[in-house]
Amino acid sequence: MLYREAGDFKTTYVDDSQTFPIKFDRAGFWVTMAVAWLVIPFVINDYWASSLLVPFLIYAIAALGLNILTGYCGQVSLGTGGFMAVGAYACYKLMTAFPDVSILIHVVLAGGITAAVGAAFGLPSLRIKGFYLAVATLAAQFFLVWLFNKVAWFYNYSASGQINAPERLVAGVAVTGPNTPAWAQYLICLFFVTLCALVARNLTRGSTGRKWMAIRDMDIAAEIIGVNPLRAKLTAFAVSSFFVGVSGALFFAVYLGAVEVGEAFGIQKSFLVLFMIIIGGLGSIFGSFAGAAFLVIMPVALKWLGVDVLGWPTDLVAHFQLVIVGALIMFFLIKEPHGLAAIWRHIKEKLRLWPFPY
C-alpha cells in the first residue's frame, strides 16, 4: 500500500533512472540523511561518538571499498588491513609534512596513494583467481604491515614506532587531536561516508559497475562481449583501495589519534571487514552499512547488556561476546547466506504486496 511503484509517475529519463525509484525509499533516504546531519550532531556525546558512531561510519567506508572489489568485481581480498594502513600512514606523512594544507585534502590524497598501491597489488589478479588471489592479497597485508614497522621513515623516527595525529582544524574547529568535539569527529566521518556512498552507488549502477559485475559473473564471457579485464579489474582494485585508504586515514587521524600498525591494521582487521560484507551482503551498498553496523554495535551492545545491566564479570562477558557474535554469524549465514541486504530485500518484496499478499 505504502511501498509500491504504482502511482509514482516518471516523466523524464532522469527520473526513471534515479537511485531510489520508489517514493517510500526516497522519503526514507532523506529522513535518514536529515537525522544523520541535523539531529545526531546536536545530541551526540563523546561516548556515542568514539564507541559507536565514528567506528561504524569508518568501517562502513572500508566495507564499501571491499564490497566494490569482492562483492561487485568478484576479486577476494584479504589485504584490507594493509591498505587501511597505507591510508593511515600516507595521511600521517602528509599531515606532518604539509601542516598548512587542510586535513580534508590529506584524507583524499591518502585515498589516492592507497589506490595506487592497491592497483599495483591488483596486478596479479590478471593471472590468478579465487583462493590464489586471496593468498596474493594476504601477502600484501603482511608485507605492508612489516614495511610500516620496519622503515622508520614512515613513523618519522619516533622512539615507539607509533604515529600520532597532530591537531588539525576544519573551519576553525579541531577534527583531529584530543580537543576534537564529538560532533566534529562525527561530522567529518559522516561527510566522507556520504560522499563515498554516493560515488559507490553511482559507480556500481553505471557502465563501470556493469563491467565489474560482468567480470565477477564470468570473466571469459565478459571478455568476449568487449569488457577489458585489465581495466575492469585494475579500476576495481584502485577504487576499492581508495575507499579503504580513506577509511584508514580517518581511522587513524579522527578515531584513534595514535596507531601502532601491527595492532590496528593486522590480519584481524582484514577479516573483520570481510565479515562485514559477508554478513551485510556481497554486492550491496546497503549491505556494507548493515554489516558494519552489525559488527560494530553488537559487541558494544552485548557488553552493555552483560556488564552494566546484568552485572556479570567482565571476562565472562568478553568470552560470551565471542561466542554470541560467532553464533550469530553462523545463524545468519545458514538462514540467509546472502546477508542482511537479502533480508532487507525480502522485507521490501513483502511490503510491496502488503496488506494483500497472494
Binding site: 614497522n149 576553525g172 601502532e260
Partner: protein
C-alpha cells in the same frame, strides 16, 4: 568564545558533576581475556583486592568508599578507548591501563579531559618530564631506566666493561617493545657492546626463526621486552636451543611465575628485572582476612603473592596514597581528578610509610615533583629457581644511568611538546 574555552567550560562542568558523586571512582582497565590475559589477570586481581581491602578495613580512604569500575580491554587499543570513554563520565580519578599501546591513545585524551594517568613501569618514557606531560605519571620507573639497569647489571657482572660483547634484544614488535631500543643504542656507543635487534610480532606464539637467529649469532646476552604468551614461548625456545639461561634477562614484565612455569626445570636460572620485591608481606594477611575470607576476591583469588599480583597491589597502593595526599592538601574527602593530580605530584613514598602499610621494602623510596614524574628508576634483578618455584632476588635495587636517560627524555618530550604546541611548565 572559541572552542578551547568551550571545552574548558565543559570540562569544568563535568568536574563539578563528578564531585557530587559520593565515592572515589577508580576505573580498572583490565584484560582477563586474549593472549595477554596471563599477565593482565593477576595485576588486576591485586589492584582490586587492595582497594576492596581498604573499603572493608578502613571504610575507604579518608572515610570515602572506593568504587572500582572494571572494563575489559583485551590489551586492544580500540576497546581501551571505548573503556576510557565509557568510564570517564563517572568521575574517574585515575587511569592505569597496563598497556603501552592504550597509554599512547590516552595521553592526549586525559590531557584534554584533565584526568591523571599513571603508567607504572610502562607507557611513554618521556612522560617522566612532568612539565610537558602535566597529567601523565610513570613513577617509580620506566623502560629506559629498565634498559639502563639491565646494562648496569651486566657491567657489574663483567667487571665494568662490556667491550666486544654482543647483546641481543628480543622485543615485542610494538610501541612497548621498541621503547628501550633508543637507550640501548645510546648505551652501546658508551660501553662498546654490539646490539642486535630481534623483533617478535604480536602475539608472540611463533618465535622459531628468532631463536634460530640467536642460535646462529650466539650473542653473549639476550635481553627481552616481552609480555603475555610471548614470554612463555621465549623461555621455552631458549631452553630448546640450550641458551645459557643465566645470560637471558627479561624486563620486569617478563618475570612472573606463569612466564617460566611452562618450561619446567629448563627455566631454572632465567633472570628478570623487577620493580617490586616479592615477599610474604603482612598486607596479604589483611587482604585474606577482609577480602578473600569475605568471598570478595577479584578473579578466582588464586594469584595472591605472585610477582604480578604484588605489582598490581603496589600500583593500587600508590594510587591510594596519592588520594590520601590529595585529601590532605585540599582538605576535602571527596576529591576531583584535578586534586588527585596534585596529590600524585606531591607523593612521597618513604621506607617507613611502606612498612606502616604492611609492605616493607616492596619498592624503592621515592618522591614525585612537578618536574619529575618518573621517580627513581631503580630496579633489581631476580632469578628463577624452578625446583623451589620461587624468584630469588640476586641484587638490591640498582640505579639506572641518569646521564644517559635524562637527555633522551628531554629530547623526546621536547619533540612531543613541539608537535602538540605545549608550553612546558608546572600547573
Amino acid at each position: 568564545m572559541n572552542i578551547k574555552t568551550l571545552i574548558a567550560a565543559a570540562v569544568a562542568g563535568t568536574m563539578t558533576a563528578g564531585s557530587a558523586v559520593a565515592d572515589l571512582v577508580i576505573p580498572d582497565l583490565s584484560y582477563r581475556t586474549g593472549p595477554y590475559a596471563a599477565g593482565g589477570t593477576p595485576v588486576s586481581d591485586g589492584y582490586q583486592d587492595y582497594f576492596n581491602m581498604l573499603n572493608a578495613r578502613d571504610g575507604g580512604i579518608g572515610g570515602v568508599p572506593i568504587r572500582i569500575v572494571e572494563c575489559e580491554t583485551g590489551y586492544n587499543t580500540e576497546k581501551g578507548v571505548e573503556c576510557y570513554e565509557s568510564t570517564k563520565g563517572e568521575g574517574a580519578l585515575i587511569y592505569q591501563p597496563l598497556s603501552t599501546g592504550i597509554t599512547y591513545q590516552l595521553i592526549p585524551k586525559v590531557t584534554a579531559d584533565n584526568i591523571p594517568l599513571h603508567t607504572m613501569g610502562y607507557g611513554r618514557t618521556s612522560a617522566a618530564n612532568g612539565e610537558v606531560f602535566n597529567w601523565v605519571f610513570n613513577y617509580p620507573a620506566n623502560y629506559w631506566d629498565a634498559a639502563s639497569v639491565a646494562v648496569n647489571y651486566l657491567l657489574d657482572e663483567n667487571g665494568g666493561s662490556l667491550d666486544g660483547k654482543t647483546i641481543a634484544l628480543v622485543y615485542h614488535n610494538s610501541a612497548y617493545g621498541k621503547e628501550p631500543i633508543r637507550t640501548l643504542e645510546a648505551l652501546s656507543e658508551m660501553h662498546g657492546y654490539d646490539l642486535s635487534l630481534i623483533a617478535v610480532d604480536h602475539p608472540g606464539q611463533e618465535q622459531k626463526s628468532q631463536w634460530l637467529q640467536i642460535r646462529r649469532e650466539r650473542p653473549d646476552y639476550v635481553l627481552m621486552w616481552g609480555w603475555g604468551v610471548m614470554n612463555q614461548v621465549a623461555v621455552q625456545e631458549a631452553a630448546n636451543i640450550n641458551f645459557p639461561m643465566e645470560n637471558f634477562i627479561g624486563n620486569w614484565w617478563a618475570g612472573s611465575e606463569h612466564d617460566v612455569l611452562p618450561a619446567g626445570d629448563a627455566a631454572t636460572g632465567y633472570k628478570s628485572l623487577a620493580m617490586t620485591r616479592s615477599a610474604d608481606y603482612p598486607v596479604f594477611g589483611h587482604i585474606t582476612e577482609y577480602v578473600h575470607d569475605a568471598g570478595n576476591a577479584a578473579g578466582d583469588g588464586s594469584n595472591m603473592g605472585t610477582v604480578l599480583y604484588t605489582r598490581g597491589m603496589y600500583a593500587a597502593m600508590l594510587a591510594a596514597e596519592a588520594i590520601a595526599k590529595a585529601q590532605e592538601i585540599h582538605g576535602v574527602a571527596e576529591i576531583t581528578p584535578a586534586m588527585m593530580r596534585d596529590g600524585m605530584e606531591a607523593l612521597d613514598i618513604t621506607a617507613e610509610r611502606m612498612a606502616e602499610l604492611g609492605m616493607p621494602d616492596i619498592g624503592p623510596a621515592f618522591s614525585v615533583s612537578c618536574e619529575d614524574h618518573g621517580g627513581t628508576g631503580l630496579g633489581l634483578v631476580q632469578q628463577w629457581d624452578a625446583a623451589a618455584g620461587v624468584w630469588n632476588p640476586l641484587t638490591d635495587f640498582i640505579a639506572p644511568d641518569n646521564s644517559v636517560t635524562d637527555p633522551l627524555i628531554a629530547e623526546d618530550s621536547a619533540a612531543f611538546a613541539a608537535e602538540n604546541n605545549i608550553e612546558a611548565g608546572c600547573l
